[in-house]
Amino acid sequence: MRLKRIAEKLKYHNLFIKMFSITLVSIITVAVLTWFVMIRISEQVFMDTFSITNGKIMTQIQTSAEAMNYAVSMTASNANISGEIKRFLTRGQFTTIEALSSHYKVTQEMKRLQSTLASYPIAMVVIGNNGNRHATDTTFWPPTYKGLNEHFITEQTIQSPRKLHYHIDMSTLDGQQNEQAVIVASKAMYEQLSGEIYGVLYFAIKEAEFKKNYSGFTSEGNDVLLLNRSGIVVSSNVTSKLGTTEQELLDYAKQIEQQGEKYINVDWQGKQYLILSTYLPTYDLYLVNTIDKRVALSQMLDVKTLTLIIAAIVFISLIIVFIVSRRITRSLTLLARQMSRVTKRNFGNYIVVSGSNEIKEVGKAYNLMLDELNEYIAELLKSQKEQRNAELSALQMQINPHFLYNTLASVKILVQQGNKDKATATINALIELLQNTIGNASEMITVKQELVNLKNYVFINHVRYGEQIKVNYFIDEQCYDFAIPKLIIQPFIENAFFHAFRGQADGYIYVMISREGSNLVCEIVDDGVGFDMDWNESMPASKNSSHFFSGIGIRNVNDRLELLYGEGYGVQIHSSKGEGTRIKLLIPVSVSKEITKT
């Protein structure tokens, strides 16, 4: 039941649901598409700009890194040609005084050399094959001289003495923050001519200082790493990566180098990365710039706010669409409902004209249609009524020829019998009757006239059939001038004459006319045999038509009264076997001027 009701309700909102869902879907689709395209395009733009600017930044980093390398290599070659340092590192035997002197001079020499590096916080350490050594600053490196000769860095340096090597000293890493990490550049000290190595020169710089070359360019998701040929991270703004091996990144860097591209897009560590790389030949390091696209974009492009704004726009437009389409369809729905209420034979349901212009027009047209329909129906009803009226009045006008010649036959008999007075009276009654029925064109007559007609008719019937049946009249005097349809009582008198007293020698018929409020009540009562009311056939039919006076029978009286006065007026019959019949005619009181004139 409930479901059905809901379905019923939905039926009326069908249009709204369709309209709204279509707009809903299209708005959301448009919004999502716009969002998607916008993000995509700006992503592309950002990425392009990113790769260009970062490419320039890479060049800048390279320049500043190379400036530093230049200073370092200059210092290294100066150190290599310094006789004081060479003596300090090569001479085997020193007296204490000589040692003091040599140490002192080397200290001065190293200070002088270091002035080339003044702008960089670099500590210089020099170690000779003879075990002599000197450091300009030992606060951060080396942690200890122990094992430095066997150190990986030293070994590498001795293998290719003419090269300046850059390493990260693994022993300075703590694996987490790596705050103490130190980058060491090393170069062998060798005889210019023989190439014989007599010492190693180290340049130590805190990784934290070294990365100042580029740390200004990094940001979240935009990281710089320096990888050596084995993929070990020598320097990075991501301190935790120091000293780790990034084989994959190294491969990307090599790929970029080989293909001569500026950057590549890769999936790295499950994320989208833009990777730029430059090979720093002086360092023999790969300068790699990794850009986590998502993070970089999220800094540039506030996807969240954008999404929120679009969502808000969609939400607001949906509310507007909802309200507007609701308003449109509501008037339509209302119209449909009102229209559907116009069922058979009920054309009075006018529509309340409201809503949009179009709907108003439709409503107006519909109402106009109803107006016209109702008008036609009224006209039809009227014409049908008139037709019936005409029919009935035609019947009223008719005088049954049987009645005429039967009456005339009766007169002839009277004449033959020589009953001259009675014949004359009969002829007079007939004349008056005919005059009133056929001669008088008007349909309505006064009660007085009808009474005359009745008396004439009764007189004629007495002449024909004898005077066993008596008719008595009880008429309220004030009722004489009221108008009633012509020959409206006569059929009942007629009926009583011929049917009520079957098998009875004599009887009475009473005609009573009185006023009851605004109604005129005519009663025709007989004390005849009566009959059982058979409701299928409200009026007893008569087979013999010879005694009928006019075409209008009791059957038509009711129709006629109803036609003339509307429902509520008409004929009521009460009868039962052995108790006579009582017929009551109900007519509204009216006084016709025309009638009174005649």
């Binding site: 020193f94 005084i97 003091l100 916080p121 600053d137 606060t139 001289y145 122990k146 929120l308």
Partner: protein
């Protein structure tokens, strides 16, 4: 329709307002920590020597955190030379932005800063009581009658000796009590002969040994006014230099030229003794394998100088508060730790062997505790007793300026120049440079 439009517009405004608000809020949050208005404060400390000075500061941080958790102390380690350079640069530039709140300055240099930039430092008279500290520390840390520094470690010197090497050479620790430098040289020769190890290390650029010698005789590079160079005719200095030359000529010295080598030399067992300040204790003890092999004896005296005693000083530094934002917090921090907390000094002695100069601290238990590393010697109380004997000298403003001259001239002297000529040259240079 109009209504709808208004609503639409309003909601847009709201939306944009909201988003911009969040931005503002974020910026606001970002700004807050940098402002110093909140109850949370941050101070920065510059110091050198991770084990010793920084280590002491770490403990101070811990102690203070229990009292005032709102203060964040950032410790920045730099080489001493770097600190001096940066401090000079910062003070010269006149901006205080790059400066720390607290800085550690060696006593030798303190006056040069206090006199050159008296307004840059924050007087601490309201926070500490100078008479609570060892008397010889007050001279370098105060200026114009105002106390600027919180005296930290005592630079009281001693002679760290390897008992096992001495034993091998036929000496006991008792043989080294109250000796002269000449006797020391003899012992050194024996050690070198028997064990092959040098007696001590020497860096030609650092004349700490000479400074210890002259202070033990109550003399200094400068006269008592702290301004006039006192090199020529300084008998104690001449005696010290002669002794130094004897030491170098004896062939018992391992020449070095940097700190790593210095520490490396005794950690690796290359030298038999270290005549230096007590602050080296932590570095000596860093080589745990040598536990029980060390002892500390009083510093030798100059044989030809009567006033020379078995006590001297080397280094030693104090904390200074710079006159920048957060100075009150910094001063309060120092007051509660280095300035008055005797218990805190017990911790320092026990944990890192730092001997403070707060008099009250010496009465604590930790000061009289024996140290197993030094064969059960009550090193701290020994140092404390030597501290009392340290002759008070005025380091003045120019200790290091003269030291630089001396380094060169001593080099000349070592290479054969006449002592008096060398001192005369040095005097002339010093006079012209200081004026």
């Amino acid at each position: 329709m109009k209504k709808l439009l208004t609503v639409l517009l309003a909601s847009f405004m709201l939306l944009t307002a909201c988003s911009s608000n969040t931005n503002n809020a974020n910026q606001g949050e970002g700004n807050t920590p940098s402002g110093s208005n909140g109850s949370k404060q941050e101070i920065t400390v510059w110091a050198w020597d991770k084990v010793f000075n920084i280590g002491a500061m770490e403990f101070a941080k811990k102690v203070y955190a229990e009292k005032n958790a709102d203060l964040t102390v950032n410790l920045v380690e730099n080489a001493q030379n770097d600190i001096i350079q940066r401090l000079n640069a910062g003070l010269n530039s006149g901006t205080t932005k790059s400066l720390p709140n607290i800085v550690l300055i060696e006593d030798y240099r303190a006056q040069s800063f206090l006199q050159a930039y008296p307004d840059a430092f924050f007087a601490l008279d309201e926070f500490i009581n100078p008479s609570d500290f060892a008397d010889y520390k007050i001279g370098p840390t105060s200026f114009n009658g105002k106390q600027y520094g919180v005296p930290f470690d005592s630079g009281v010197a001693g002679l760290y000796v390897r008992t096992d090497y001495l034993q091998e050479a036929g000496y006991s620790v008792d043989d080294l009590q109250d000796i002269t430098w000449d006797q020391y040289i003899e012992i050194g020769k024996a050690v070198k002969e028997k064990t092959g190890h040098d007696m001590l290390t020497q860096d030609p650029n650092d004349l700490g040994l000479i400074r210890m010698m002259i202070q033990s005789a109550g003399s200094w590079y400068l006269k008592e006014d702290g301004k006039t160079p006192y090199l020529k005719d300084n008998a104690a200095l001449a005696d010290a230099l002669e002794t130094y030359k004897k030491l170098m000529d004896a062939g018992i010295v391992k020449v070095i030229s940097d700190w790593s080598q210095f520490v490396g030399a005794f950690n690796s067992g290359d030298v038999a003794s270290i005549p230096t300040g007590n602050w080296i204790t932590a570095s000596v003890k860093a080589e745990a394998e040598q536990s029980g092999k060390w002892a500390i004896v009083p510093l030798p005296t100059l044989a030809n100088t009567e006033s020379s005693v078995h006590a001297s000083n080397l280094g030693g530094s104090s904390w200074y508060v710079l006159n920048v934002d957060g100075k009150e917090a910094a001063a309060e921090f120092l007051k509660e730790t280095f300035g008055s907390n005797a218990d805190f000094y017990q911790t320092l002695v026990t944990e890192i062997g730092a001997i403070g100069t707060l008099k009250a601290a010496a009465e604590g238990e930790a000061y009289s505790a024996p140290d197993e590393f030094f064969g059960g010697q009550t090193t701290i109380s020994d140092f404390a007793s030597w501290t009392e004997q340290i002759p008070n000298v005025n380091y003045g403003m120019h200790t290091y300026a003269i030291e630089d001259i001396m380094v060169v001239e001593v080099q000349n002297y070592m290479n054969g120049a006449d002592l008096q000529t060398v001192l005369g040259n040095a005097q002339t240079q010093a006079e012209s440079q200081i004026r």
